[in-house]
Amino acid sequence: MSNPMKTVFHPLKFKNMKILVCISNVPDTTTKIKLSGDKKSVDMTGVQWVINPWDELALTRAMELKEKSGGKIEKVTAITVGDKICEPILRKALAVGADNAVRIDAVASDDYYVAAQMAEYVKKESFDMIFAGIESSDYNGSAVGSMLSEFLDIPSISSVSNVDFEGDSFVMKRTIDGGSETVDAALPMVAVVQKGIAIDPRIPAMRGIMMARKKPLSVEAPVDIEATSEFIEFEMPQPKPPVKMVDAENVGELFSLLHEEAKVL
């Protein structure tokens, strides 16, 4: 299969590289979800916040690449859009090894809003490679990475399950149905990453936690952008009814239950 995205890299470009990792603040995956009274939002009282698992893997891979790049990757920046409640995950990103962190001080109302805010920051700072997790584990929007590349008019590669260097370029593997494909793209670009990008999220070491105290975490004012969607209502799945036991001898009852109650026959 020909690869429409195949691009030749200029080797000189491959130095002083900057990687941006987009991270999202999400409730811990074991959180019990409760809805607010009007069902328009999720009740976040008492929630423990974590870095979105895919973003955490992306950050881990960014750190691994920086370490093995022999200085070619100069800086890894973690960015999020959110209010002050998001700062612990940024400080964790710093403890894991990010060089600096940026919080765009606004409530992340929808994917469009988040991508647009991040795009404005990227335009000011310029990055060579941007990692975004394939989706966030809270609202599963799965759109920020691709939208960001659209706003910036740069390539994006989706479902990336491996990123590595090959000579003087990044090579990415995408897992697709029944196999995988290997691609590279012109920089700057957005890699929308999925599981496999790193084996396990990196655990911050004491030294990293200590160093994070001194690393810059800047707070940026949001630009004036309207969100394009709003939540109307959330619905919880119905609890599963109890299992009905049918005697193995009683096939007739089984058929009638499948027909009349389960309505699958």
Partner: protein, 379 residues
């Protein structure tokens, strides 16, 4: 007054939990059965900085506070007390003793590699006939002018084989009673040191416990810690801090058992409902939760006092005695809640119960803690 942990403390707790739940859990049962030291895990915990987390930055440590240490110890101990005891002995006995009472030269040479976790330390106080009564040391360190000559036997030494740096307590002037005791830094590979066999223990089986024999072991003068005769005070002061480590270990055993018992009670059904819905078990879990919460509060209080530079000896004795005793109770109840499954190794709680027993014995038995606590009532 504030009961909230700082963001950094939560990050450390989470880091310890992640390592324990992701890595230690994988082979903990097998290591327990084979009584195999967790060499790789200790290397990883060292890289993460847990082995020297309490040591100041200037001595290559993590520079973390004692509250963070309690939280980390609890998380590691929920899964593997054999790993957490290495962390406890290294941090709060060996590193603490050297940082607080060593000379700069001693700190440079011995503390730094211990704080980085490149080397492990052991604390050699107990003897065949001097455990709780530490004044009855039989090991001698005879002053030979430019060096000391150590002879004697130490028992039940945690990390005895894996450690490279020993802190040894021995008598120099037996006629002076406890004022004649000294503490020494002794390198394990010094000629004259031999190890007894690995103790075949009931619990904490993958921690390497041995007796250590000293036969005419030459220790340079500069390896004595503090003034001549400082050893007993050194041991007692160091053990004050050590108690916070073991108290937190006991806390972790109890809270780990509670977590497992709760989870099991929500999965296992009997008489048509999850066993949690039977009041006899719900009340058991309630009692366990109160004990765990009390133990945690005592541990955190002792740690907080230490971090504030306030006296914490009584508080750490209370934390150690209470946490150890309830660890025994809570782990036993966790086995009971699991029924037959609790008695097999797959469900971990029987191991937690075996491990809990040791927390009532080492680094000062529960009875010794009660001596300390009761005497403090008279002050």
């Amino acid at each position: 007054m504030n009961f909230e942990y700082s963001e950094e403390q939560i990050m450390i707790q989470q880091a310890a939990r992640d390592y324990a739940q992701r890595e230690l859990i994988k082979d903990v049962t097998e290591r327990d059965e084979k009584a195999e030291f967790p060499t790789e895990h200790i290397k990883n915990l060292a890289e993460l900085g847990f082995l020297g987390m309490l040591v100041g930055e200037e001595w290559d440590g993590g520079g973390m506070d004692t509250v963070s240490y309690v939280l980390a110890m609890e998380e590691i101990s929920k899964v593997d007390a054999s790993a957490s005891v290495v962390m406890s002995v290294n941090n709060s006995l060996v590193c603490y003793g050297l940082e607080k009472y060593g000379t700069d030269a001693q700190r440079e040479k011995y503390l730094k590699p211990l704080a980085r976790g490149e080397k492990i330390g052991a604390f050699l106080l107990s003897e065949p006939e001097a455990g709780s009564d530490a004044t009855k040391q039989r090991t001698t360190a005879v002053d030979k002018g430019d060096h000391y000559l150590i002879n004697g036997t130490k028992n039940w030494i945690t990390n005895a084989n894996s450690a490279s740096t020993y802190l040894v307590i021995a008598h120099t002037h037996p006629e002076k009673g406890h004022r004649g005791i000294n503490a020494f830094i002794v390198e394990k590979d010094t000629p004259g040191i031999t190890l007894g066999p690995h103790e075949n223990k009931m619990g904490m089986r993958s921690s390497d416990t041995h007796s250590v024999m000293f036969t005419d072991v030459i220790v340079p003068k500069e390896n004595r810690i503090g003034e001549d005769g400082f050893g007993f005070k050194f041991a007692m002061k160091t053990l004050e801090g050590g108690r916070i480590g073991i108290a937190s270990q006991a806390l972790g055993l109890a809270s780990g058992a509670l977590e497992r018992a709760l989870q099991y009670s929500l999965e296992r059904k009997a008489f048509g409902t999850e066993i949690f819905n039977h009041q006899s078990l719900a009340f058991k879990l309630s009692d366990m939760a109160v004990k765990v919460e009390n133990a945690r509060n005592l541990c955190i209080k002792a740690a907080w006092l230490k971090d504030q530079g306030l006296p914490y000896g009584t508080a750490s004795a209370m934390a150690k005695q209470y946490a150890a005793d309830i660890a025994m109770e809570v782990t036993t109840e966790a086995v009971q809640i699991h029924g037959g499954y609790g008695y097999v190794k797959e469900y971990h709680v029987e191991r937690l119960m075996r491990e809990a027993k040791l927390t009532q014995i080492y680094e000062g038995t529960s009875e010794v803690q009660k001596i300390i606590i009761s005497r403090s009532l008279l002050k």
